[in-house]
């Protein structure tokens, strides 16, 4: 009991620290930047650990869902406008005294043509980031549903290969459809808060790191809470039973299809949300985010953190993101210059292999386990003792 309180205290302290961090780090925007990106990877790694570690679905397509979320948000921002007068040429929906204008994907820009029809003083707004992000999450969910249904029959290696194929098709499509996605140059997105934002009575401009920090932190905490709740609920129990033995789980009445598809939908939506927010924060999204290297980063973060622990994966991701950034500096040993830009990835690959081989539960999870369970051993001993005494009494 005492230990549980202590743990909640620790969690609350960490939470407070994360919330208060901007006040301490305000003059180090670069650290803030890494923190935001680290939360982004933490969301991806922990949702992947829910998918792969808990449900046993080793998908290599997680980044594709992330990119679908980001590109949906970007394309929404590129093609949807709000005007105070109808254009007359675009497809548009009146809403009170505003019009929601859909700019056509191909051919001439109808908004430019429509400017002739619009009275002087007409305002054309870009919509804010939020509806685009929501649309991105929905798209992520739809594709998650689609892939989830398609891979129902596939296991292990087959699933891994299918999802690699899916991810590659998504990448090539974003790369080649230059008219819509701007191809390898990347699709540009507006900042999260284009006009800046008021927070705690302060004004932050659009380039300030503090508002996106809180947005990403909120997303991180909310998705962790959702995933944690799922993992301790019946849902978590069911998906773990599917992982261990699908037939046995089915025989015990677990609705295999429903839960397998559901876990894909949930994790894809979380990945898409992370992608959409990250893309708005960075300001550009390119198909290169779908390169296998990026996916391997997420996988390695989850593995090193602890594949079967949401918190472990998230902490692993945050630590690795910071480590990879700070290890970029080269150093010299005697006459040899070690160029860390490349070597850090060599060590990283080696660490991944060794972790898999010798620390199956990852490097972070055992520490968490020790923190949460170190009292368990004494309790068990006490309980056994009690049981033995009881038995003795019974005999007597």
């Amino acid at each position: 009991m005492n230990r549980t309180k202590w743990l909640w205290g620790l969690a609350a302290a960490v939470g407070l620290l994360l919330i208060a961090a901007p006040a301490l780090l305000e003059s180090y925007p670069y650290i803030m930047h890494i923190a935001i990106v680290a939360f982004f990877y933490a969301i991806l790694a922990s949702s992947w650990s829910l998918l792969a570690g808990y449900a046993g679905q080793f998908s290599f397509g997680h980044m594709a869902f992330m990119a679908i979320g980001a590109y949906t948000a970007g394309i929404f921002g590129k093609y949807v406008r709000l005007t105070t007068a109808p254009t007359g040429v675009c497809s548009e929906i009146p809403m009170g005294n505003h019009w929601l204008v859909l700019v056509n994907f191909f051919g001439d820009n109808c908004l430019e043509l429509g400017k002739a029809n619009m009275p002087v003083g007409t305002l054309i707004y870009r919509l804010p980031a939020l509806p685009g992000i929501i649309l991105g999450i929905i798209m992520g969910g739809i594709f998650g549903l689609l892939v989830g249904v398609l891979v129902l029959r596939l296991r292990r290696t087959y699933l891994a290969l299918f999802t690699i194929g899916f991810s590659e098709i998504v990448r090539v499509t974003f790369n080649a459809e230059i008219d819509i996605t701007n191809g390898p140059n990347g699709l540009e997105l507006a900042p999260l808060f284009p006009n800046g934002v008021h927070l705690f009575g302060f004004y932050f401009n659009s380039a300030n790191k503090i508002p996106p920090y809180y947005v990403m932190l909120m997303l991180f905490l909310v998705s962790m809470a959702v995933m944690y709740w799922l993992s301790i609920s019946r849902f978590g129990l069911f998906i773990r039973s599917i992982r261990e033995d699908e037939e046995a789980a089915a025989a015990l009445g677990v609705h295999i299809v429903r839960y397998k598809v559901l876990v894909f939908v949930v994790t894809s939506m979380i990945a898409a949300a992370a992608g959409a927010v990250e893309a708005h924060y960075i300001g550009v999204i390119t198909p290169n985010i779908l390169l296998i290297l990026q996916m391997s980063l997420v996988i390695s973060m989850a593995v090193i953190g602890g594949l079967e622990s949401l918190v472990g994966a998230a902490i692993g991701a945050i630590i690795i993101e910071f480590a990879l950034e700070f290890l970029r500096t080269s150093f010299t040993i005697g006459p040899i210059v070690v160029d860390m830009t490349t070597w850090r990835l060599v060590f990283f690959g080696l660490l991944l292999m060794l972790t898999l081989r010798f620390w199956t539960n990852g490097l972070i999870y055992p520490i968490i386990q020790r923190l949460t369970r170190s009292g368990v051993a004494e309790e068990t001993v006490a309980m056994r003792q009690a049981a033995v005494e009881g038995a003795v009494e019974g005999q007597g």
Binding site: Y28, P29, Y30, I31, H33, V37, L82, I93, M95, H98, L100, Y125, L127, P128, A129, L130, P131, I134, N175, A176, I178, G183, P184, N185, G186, F193, N195, G196, V197, H198, Y203, A207, I282, G283, V284, I285, T286, N288, I289, L291, L293, E325, R328, D339, T341, T342, L345
Partner: protein, 493 residues
């Protein structure tokens, strides 16, 4: 349901759009005086008279420009050597001048004993690692030279080189790191246009001057940011040059083999446009970076029956294409081929494209015959350091850093506005020749030239070179175009 959702969007939209912009106005300063320039005034004389220090003139420039931002009746001083009679300027009080210099000292960095300059280049895939490696060596040579000559503002330069991986999103992160963590006063370099396009936004938001090296995309300068300068050529101008050369060879139909990137696609488009102006037909094929097998594409190119092939692929992808084309019978020995500029690295070229004799390639930078002493010195140092011949991107990297150092010295401070003013007036001799930036805040690019000339080095030298013997060293290969520089006639297969 659908309508409800839309309404929800709309409410959220209104809430966020309606957030008003509040500009934080700086507190007004006081204590100084207004002054109208009369004949025979110059700033250092005024500084001596009012502030008792000849060297205090940057403070007058700074405060006058500050005032100019609020009240246009004050003059805007962009060149401290040039003030005109009748200008209203602001002479700060000695306290204000002191505050200004204190701020400058603080800006130089927390330790205050070095001047920090940031450099961008790609060192890992998918970036062009070969390019990044040469650029790094060039930066190191430039830093050594600058520091051997006494550094900048009397302090040694500390160069912080960051890997951009050729990824636009990494470009943002790298700039953030340089500006916000390392507190650099200026940034130089970069190879990939896509990275340059995002990096320039960060530079603009933080008001830090940048001299870009190998980013050719027109849009980088066309956004007319005061902070952005470039020593690399303009993609559209290079296209015009290619078109002129192709016309001089008498080709009527051209196949452009380009890469599917932020450099390749726009370059192919503008070349096609320029060729069309000259009545030459062009068909573009594109491939991803890293494509190995070109046999299918090559058969299609063969069927187009072109008079000439222009290769806009870079790196190992260009080698793969050129050699496979040669093996398939449409190589440089079968019809004229303008190989990619990486061909200038003759050792790598001949090992990767053994059948590449008679390849033409475009060389940015001076032809060996026209090397200035500065170019020769750089080439020698580079060879001594790396055993390689510097490519145009190495020269651009070297010049971008040297020019920035010279600008900071001439500005006499690390203040961004002062550096920008100094860069606009710079007159620098380096590996690429004589560099100036004629169009900028003072002298906007004329309408008929277009915004792309903003802060652009206009007189970049470019020649076409042809390998005329197998295994020839690029230094010995003759220049075949333009007419006034050529050392040999082009050999047509």
């Amino acid at each position: 349901m659908k309508k409800k959702l839309l309404n929800l969007f709309l409410i959220a939209a209104m809430l966020l759009v309606a957030v008003p912009v509040v500009a934080a106005a700086p507190p007004p300063q006081g204590g100084g005086q207004d002054y109208v320039v009369v004949a025979d005034d110059w700033l250092s004389k005024l500084a001596d008279k009012f502030l008792g220090d000849v060297l205090a003139y940057p403070a007058i420039t700074y405060y006058t420009n500050q005032k100019n931002a609020e009240d246009p009746s004050y003059a805007k001083i962009t060149n401290s050597d040039l003030i005109e009679v009748g200008w209203k300027i602001y002479i700060p009080s000695p306290e204000e001048a002191q505050a200004y210099f204190d701020a400058q000292v603080a800006k130089v960095g927390a330790t205050g004993d070095t001047i920090k300059i940031g450099a961008l280049a790609p060192f890992s895939a998918p970036g062009a690692v070969v390019g990044g490696t040469q650029m790094k060596a060039a930066f190191e040579i430039a830093v050594d030279e600058i520091n051997a000559a006494g550094g900048v503002l009397g302090k040694p330069v500390e160069l912080i080189i960051v890997d951009t991986e050729g990824l636009p999103e990494r470009g943002t992160a790298a700039m953030e790191r340089l500006i916000n963590q390392d507190k650099v006063v200026a940034v130089v370099g970069e190879y990939h246009s896509a990275v340059g396009l995002t990096a320039k936004e960060v530079a603009h938001a933080n008001h830090i001057p940048v001299v870009f090296a190998e980013t050719w995309n027109d849009k980088i300068t066309a956004s007319k940011y005061p902070e952005v300068f470039r020593v690399a050529p303009l993609s559209s101008e290079v296209a015009a040059l290619d078109a002129n050369f192709i016309q001089s060879l008498g080709a009527k139909k051209v196949v452009i083999m380009t890469e599917n990137t932020g450099y390749g696609i726009p370059a192919a488009e503008s070349t096609t446009e320029r060729l069309a102006e000259r009545g030459i037909e062009a068909v573009t094929f594109s491939a991803d970076i890293g494509t190995q097998d070109f046999s299918g594409i090559i058969e299609r190119i063969k069927a187009e029956n072109p008079d000439l092939i222009l290769v806009l692929l870079t790196g190992e992808t260009s080698y793969n294409f050129q050699q496979q084309a040669a093996e398939a019978g449409i190589g440089p020995q079968d019809l004229p081929m303008i190989c990619n500029q990486v061909a200038d690295n003759s050792e790598a070229f001949w090992s990767n494209v053994p059948d590449g004799n008679l390849c033409f390639y475009r060389k940015i930078g001076l032809a060996p015959a026209l090397y200035t002493p500065e170019t020769q010195a750089f080439v020698d140092k580079f060879f001594a350091k790396t055993g390689e011949t510097p490519q145009s991107y190495a020269m651009e990297a070297y010049d971008s850093l040297k020019i920035m150092a010279q600008a900071i010295n001439e500005a006499g401070s690390t203040d961004a506005d002062a550096i920008i003013a100094a860069l606009e007036n710079i007159s620098y001799d380096g590996a690429l020749g004589h560099i100036t930036f004629p169009y900028g805040i003072n002298n906007p690019p004329p309408e008929d030239m277009g915004d792309k000339w903003w802060h652009q080095f206009p007189d970049f030298a470019a020649t076409f070179i042809q390998y005329q013997e197998p295994g020839q060293n690029s230094a010995d290969a003759p220049v075949v175009f333009p007419e006034n520089l050529k050392t040999a006639d082009p050999i047509l297969p």
